[in-house]
Each structure stands twice: as structure tokens, then as C-alpha cells.
């Protein structure tokens, strides 16, 4: 097993109110596509109950930045009681969702991604030394890269969800739920 270090531990974002779930998912996947990452969706659960939908999504996109380092993101989206609502804006009906959301983001750095340095104890030892002293600068750059990506995604998520909140506050989206 390659060495995996946890760098970002559970950055959370909770939201309750009106949002666009399809748009949110689209934004997250598009984000990684634009950044040139590979995409993995480990789990996608959707349960329909009388009180609304419950969703549980676990994404694990990753990016191979060098032959040695790999950035792994883990995004968990938990939604409860999500109902479809239609809001009226300038005479047009917009299909949106109403419910609770919780998004948790973790970030990891994997070193020795081809698992080349672990077949013998001596190789393992040299890898630990190299990670700690020789590749320290590279590791710090990878860490910076991961943190900036997660920061960027977190800000985009916040502003995406706040669009609905602030537009509702400003009265752009009326509070009248049609269905």
C-alpha cells in the first residue's frame, strides 16, 4: 500500500433551504473535469420516502500530479428530506429542491503511487527517509495544491448555495411554493 496522508480533515458545510441539487452535483463534477482530475463515484444512494428523498453520495476524484504523488479528494454529500419544489421567478417556473444538505470534504496525499518502494523493508525505510527529507519540498507543494483546490471548491459550493439564500432574501425568488 502506498503511503496516504490525511491533509484536510472533514471540512463541513451544512445548508437547509432551497437549492438546486442537480446543479450542485453538476458543479462539483465539472470542477474536477476542468481541473483535469479523474473521477470516481464510490457510492450513490437515493431513497424515496413520503417526507422526501434521502441521498448519500460519496465521490473520490483524484489527480496524479507527478509519478510519485497523487492528490485524493473525498466528498460526501448527505441530503435528507429533499422535496421537489417549483418557484416562480419573473413569470417562469423554476424546478428546485428543498431540504437539508451536509457536504464533507477530505483531502489526502498519496506518495509512492505505484507502490514501488515497499517490497522490502530497506526500500520502505528509504521511502520514509525520502518522503521526510528529500521530497519534502515536493510534498509541501502537493499539500499546497490540494489545499488550494479544496478551498476553491468550498468557496464555489458556498457561493452556489448562497445564491439561493441571498436571492430569496432579496425577494428575487418569491417564497411561494407552487407544488
Amino acid at each position: 500500500m502506498s503511503e496516504i496522508r490525511l491533509v484536510i480533515d472533514q471540512t463541513k458545510l451544512t445548508y437547509e433551504g432551497i437549492f438546486n441539487l442537480k446543479g450542485l452535483y453538476e458543479m462539483i463534477t465539472q470542477f474536477f473535469y476542468e481541473k483535469g482530475g479523474d473521477y470516481e463515484e464510490k457510492l450513490n444512494t437515493e431513497q424515496i420516502f413520503p417526507h422526501g428523498r434521502n441521498i448519500k453520495i460519496e465521490l473520490a476524484p483524484y489527480k496524479n500530479i507527478t509519478d510519485y504523488f497523487k492528490l485524493i479528494y473525498r466528498i460526501r454529500i448527505y441530503g435528507t428530506g429533499i422535496k421537489n419544489v417549483e418557484l416562480e421567478q419573473d413569470g417562469a417556473k423554476i424546478p428546485l429542491n428543498d431540504g437539508k444538505l451536509m457536504i464533507i470534504i477530505d483531502g489526502y496525499i498519496m506518495s509512492d503511487r505505484y507502490s514501488k518502494w515497499e517490497h522490502k523493508p530497506i526500500q520502505w525505510f528509504f521511502r520514509a527517509l525520502a518522503d521526510k527529507y528529500i521530497f519534502k519540498g515536493h510534498y509541501l507543494k502537493a499539500e499546497q495544491w490540494l489545499m488550494s483546490d479544496v478551498d476553491d471548491l468550498y468557496l464555489r459550493l458556498k457561493s452556489f448555495l448562497n445564491v439561493y439564500r441571498s436571492s430569496r432574501d432579496r425577494g428575487v425568488i418569491s417564497e411561494q411554493i407552487i407544488s
Partner: protein, 181 residues
């Protein structure tokens, strides 16, 4: 450690609970395999005696595609359904039989190199094969063919999500391989 002749590529798990058209889903997935020219095999079909909550079904499919004389793809789809009950719904004036159940769909794939076993004749040819897969052709095996099977399966994953009308049916990596049919 020997060189692996096969590579398993997992994609993801879809779980859904609610009303859906099981017959339609069955048809759509088999149609997807047909469209990409995979020979589909239904390896297992289990139907358990229904309980008061409903029936339980388990299916396992795989589709084979010989990419070239060296590489072969196999895509596995495993279905598991619980608490299956059939409900008659009237849509646009027509009666339709839908299924209310919990469904779990797991997709994964397998890449096989030297599937014709041309290099399996003696120890020397096997060593040549290991050298080819392990060193000369190592990058191509994971980046070219590994990516190809992965993103094709991701397409199937998105296809199923779209059919079940999940909220997350958007597929950002559509067109990644430039071969969507």
C-alpha cells in the same frame, strides 16, 4: 512478485429505493452492452420465495469485448433487489406495471492481457509476456486501456442513473473517450 495478467477496475455502487420500471431498466442496460458491441452473458438469476415484504432477486451479468488481439474487456454488473412488489400505475391514460423495491447495482470491470494465451506456451514466452506487461507496456496498460474501460463503465453508470432519474444523473465526463453512442 509476478506481473499481473489481469487488472480489476471498480467503478461504483448505485442504490435506489422507490418506484421504477424494472423491465425497462433490464432492457436499457442490455441495450447499452449491445450498442458498444459486448457479448452479454447472464451468469446468475436468483429469485427467492417472496416474503410478505416482497420478493428478492439477484442477477449477475458480464459483457465481453475483444478490443484487439492482446486486450479484452469484461464489464460486470451485479443487481440485487429486495422487497420487490409490483404496482400498477396509470400514466397518460395507459396502465403500466412498475416495481417498488430497493435496488443495488454494482459495476466493475476486468482487463485481460494476452487473452488468446499466445504467450502461455513455455517459460520463456511467459517471461517475455511479463517483461512486456510489467515494463515495456506498463504505462499503456493502465493509462490507455485502463482509462478506456473505466470511462466506458462510468458511461454505463451514468446511463443507469439517468434511467432511474436520480438527482445526480449529470455526467461531466461524457465524451471523454469521444465515442458515446
Amino acid at each position: 512478485m509476478g506481473v499481473e495478467k489481469e487488472m480489476t477496475v471498480p467503478v461504483g455502487l448505485i442504490r435506489y429505493r422507490g418506484l421504477f420500471d424494472w423491465g425497462g431498466l433490464y432492457y436499457h442496460i442490455s441495450d447499452w452492452f449491445k450498442r458498444y458491441r459486448y457479448t452479454l452473458t447472464e451468469e446468475m438469476y436468483k429469485h427467492k420465495v417472496p416474503t410478505p415484504f416482497g420478493a428478492e432477486q439477484e442477477l449477475e451479468w458480464y459483457g465481453d469485448s475483444e478490443v484487439n488481439e492482446w486486450v479484452k474487456f469484461r464489464i460486470y454488473v451485479h443487481f440485487h433487489l429486495w422487497d420487490m412488489t409490483e404496482i400498477e400505475v396509470v400514466k397518460d391514460g395507459k396502465k403500466k406495471l412498475l416495481t417498488n423495491a430497493r435496488i443495488e447495482i454494482n459495476i466493475w470491470g476486468r482487463l485481460t492481457f494476452d487473452w488468446q494465451k499466445k504467450f502461455d506456451k513455455n517459460r520463456f514466452t511467459r517471461a517475455l509476456r511479463d517483461l512486456y506487461i510489467g515494463y515495456i507496456w506498463r504505462r499503456e496498460s493502465s493509462s490507455v486501456y485502463g482509462d478506456m474501460i473505466y470511462y466506458r463503465m462510468l458511461g454505463l453508470h451514468a446511463h443507469i442513473k439517468k434511467y432511474l432519474d436520480l438527482q445526480t444523473k449529470y455526467h461531466a465526463y461524457k465524451g471523454y473517450l469521444g465515442e458515446e453512442r
